[in-house]
């Protein structure tokens, strides 16, 4: 199991368009990635490719979240998703 900590950079938080872009990117991967608020138990982690899960997570700009995945390509996949979270997607 690989883990990454990321800080939400989008001005509106992980809502609307930023959430849609992130969920789409996570859904396009061959492996399952979960997302959880920093410090939350691993069991409560949500499916990163679910836009509804991302919305109920309610992460605001500056909030820290933990991404987890395992299996082949997990490291690279997490790196790309962290980069996405740390980009202001409202400004793209």
């Amino acid at each position: 199991m690989s883990e990454r900590l990321a800080t939400i950079a989008s001005a509106s938080g992980l809502h609307a368009r930023p959430a849609a872009l992130f969920a789409e990117a996570a859904g396009a991967l061959d492996i399952e990635v979960t997302i959880a608020p920093k410090g939350a138990p691993e069991d409560d982690a949500l499916d990163a490719s679910s836009i509804l899960s991302l919305m109920t997570l309610g992460a605001a700009k500056g909030d820290e979240v933990v991404l987890r995945a395992s299996g082949d390509g997990a490291e690279a996949a997490l790196d790309s998703l962290v980069a996405l979270l740390e980009t202001d997607l409202d400004a793209v």
């Binding site: 789409e24 499916d47 679910s50 836009i51 899960s53 919305m55 109920t56 309610g58």
Partner: protein, 561 residues
């Protein structure tokens, strides 16, 4: 006549007949069991297929929708196959519930979670419920719920619209949008604004009206009434006339008798300039160059300034751009130029005066303006702020000549400049009245003090008298040197008429005021404007001047200005 009211989200007055959105899909009965002939696995597979077809349908609609609608439609399409929604349903199907009931309950759970989160999330709950209804319709093999079909234009009444509905809204058919639910941040509101469609949200009670009822909608007031009569029809006519007049400036400031009054824009940078040019401004009457300098600890380089000025010049092609040199001090302090410890900064070293305490900054700015001007087509004029005497005007003109700038001018914002405008215009090519500061200095009333707001009014007859004197000075000087106005005063359509009547040749204002000012100027001849100016000058107070002029300009009331 029945009356309803809600939150107006898009102005406009419309009379039309209403159509209701079809009733929402009927809820699958609670506890509805899986058909005995279908296994849970088959039902789950069927649900997945239905969800995918809804997603495909929404994506197809997104492809032909407007950019705003496209974004929300795509997000909704994404929800259709969302794992949270489907996994929730699958769990229920595995307990023996039908797929319809499973997705219904799962959608309910997710929507409730979003509603609990409040704000933006709560408004997205509608999207989830919309997706749910579409999936149930797909499972049942019935058409998806949506906007009613009609050959005639109608006013749509709905509880709230989902993005999928608003995206397929045909503005040629739907002439206004009313919802009984929703809020100012709902999709209905967002999309109505983007489409410019008259809309009111949260108007309770409309659901009781029968389809086909004729109603009057006032989107600005947020009011709706049945049985519209002559009053309402007149209001609609007036609105249509205003909307046409007040939304567009044709780029030609002209009076009723054909007298030309170029209408220019006040801009504060390149982006601003592009917007102003698009709004039809006939040039720039005031380029505030502070944008290059504010928020900095050191003076920007000449190269940097050249690029910034050139961006503004290029937005206006070969039109006139009047550049005001740095106006630092008072409410716009700069650490490398002004002394923050002055006891009375409005009367301190500000504007052109900073050249005496920090020589060099102005000369370098003029050189940057000259370089930017040489590299562009624009007709560049340059003026100094806070000029008080003819000798200052002469010194500034000499600096401009040294920099290679052909058209030097001054701002008239200090009463002494207005009083000596003949001598000052003997030294420079033009003058521009800065009515905000001229009012502040004439009335000795700090612009930033609320309790002095009544004194700080450009309708003050004493201020108008100084404007008249400035124009008279130009006439006496004999070379027809132009006197313009670049201040809030020019953006007030009634006062704009007075200014022209006083002999002002151009008006410069924020771009969004151009159309209103142009619409009113068009109704008055130069001679009549002169009479109204005399009326204002003779008034005993600012309020009396304003009232007298407004009463003599019926166009203002007709246009709703």
């Amino acid at each position: 006549m029945q009356h309803f009211s809600g939150v107006g989200v898009m102005p406009g007055r419309v009379i039309g007949t209403i159509r209701h959105m079809p009733p929402a899909l009927s809820e699958p009965p609670a506890g509805e069991k899986l058909d005995a002939a279908v296994t849970a696995e088959q039902a789950i597979a069927g649900l997945k297929e239905a969800a995918a077809s809804v997603q495909a349908d929404l994506r197809t609609r997104a492809a032909t929708a407007s950019p705003e609608a496209k974004a929300v439609l795509e997000a909704t399409a994404q929800m259709a196959t969302d794992s949270m929604l489907l996994k929730g349903a699958n769990k229920l199907i595995n307990t023996g519930l039908s797929a319809e009931r499973g997705i219904w309950e799962s959608g309910e759970t997710v929507a409730q979670m979003l509603i609990t989160l409040g704000g933006y999330m709560a408004e997205r709950a509608t999207d989830v419920l919309d997706v749910r209804a579409r999936i149930v319709a797909a499972l049942r093999g019935v058409p998806a719920p949506g906007i009613p079909d009609s050959t005639d234009p109608f006013i749509l009444v709905a509880e709230d619209l989902a993005p999928a509905d608003t995206a397929t809204l045909d503005p040629a058919k739907v002439i206004a949008l009313l919802t009984t639910g929703g809020g100012p941040q709902s999709h209905t509101a967002i999309i109505a604004r983007a489409m410019g469609l008259t809309a009111i949200v949260a108007a309770k009670g409309l659901e009781a009206l029968e389809s086909g009822t004729e109603i009057f909608v006032d989107g600005a007031a947020g009011t709706i009434s049945t049985s519209p009569g002559d009053t309402e029809r007149t209001a609609v006519d007036a609105w249509l006339k205003n909307a046409a007049l007040l939304s567009v400036f044709d780029g030609n400031g002209v009076m009723a008798d054909g007298h030309q009054v170029p209408l220019l824009a006040n801009v504060g940078g390149g982006k601003d300039a592009v917007k102003a040019a698009a709004a039809g401004a006939q040039g720039v009457g005031l380029l505030r160059t502070e944008f290059c300098f504010l928020g900095r600890d050191t003076e920007p380089s000449i190269e940097e300034q050249v690029a910034q000025y050139k961006a503004v010049f290029d937005a206006f092609g070969s039109k006139k751009v009047v550049v005001r040199t740095l106006d630092a001090g008072a409410d716009k302090p700069l650490p490398f130029l002004t002394d923050a410890s002055e006891p009375n900064p409005a009367l301190g070293v500000r504007g052109y005066r900073t050249d005496t305490t920090s020589p060099g900054v102005l000369a370098r700015q003029l050189s940057a303006i000259a370089t930017a001007s040489a590299g562009s087509e624009a007709e560049v004029w340059v003026m100094a702020p806070m000029i008080s005497t003819p000798s200052e005007a002469a010194d500034f003109a000499a600096m401009c000549a040294d920099a290679g700038l052909a058209t030097p001018g001054v701002m008239v914002e200090v009463p002494s400049a207005a009083l000596s405008s003949e001598a000052i215009l003997g030294q420079v090519s033009f003058a521009s009245l800065g009515t905000n500061d001229l009012t502040q200095y004439t009335m000795a009333a700090d612009r930033q003090l609320g309790p002095l707001a009544a004194l700080n009014n450009p309708w003050q007859p004493a201020v108008l008298r100084l404007i008249e004197l400035t124009v008279a000075g130009s006439r006496a000087e004999g070379n027809h040197k132009p006197v313009g106005v670049c201040g809030e005063a020019a953006a007030d359509p009634a006062l704009a008429v007075v200014l022209v009547g006083l002999g002002v040749s151009t008006l410069s204002m924020s771009a969004r005021s151009l159309a209103s000012v142009a619409a009113v100027l068009k109704t008055v001849t130069l001679e009549r404007a002169g009479e109204l100016a005399q009326l204002a000058l003779a008034a005993p107070s600012a309020e009396a001047a304003r009232t007298a002029v407004r009463e003599a300009l019926p166009a203002l009331a007709e246009l709703g200005l």
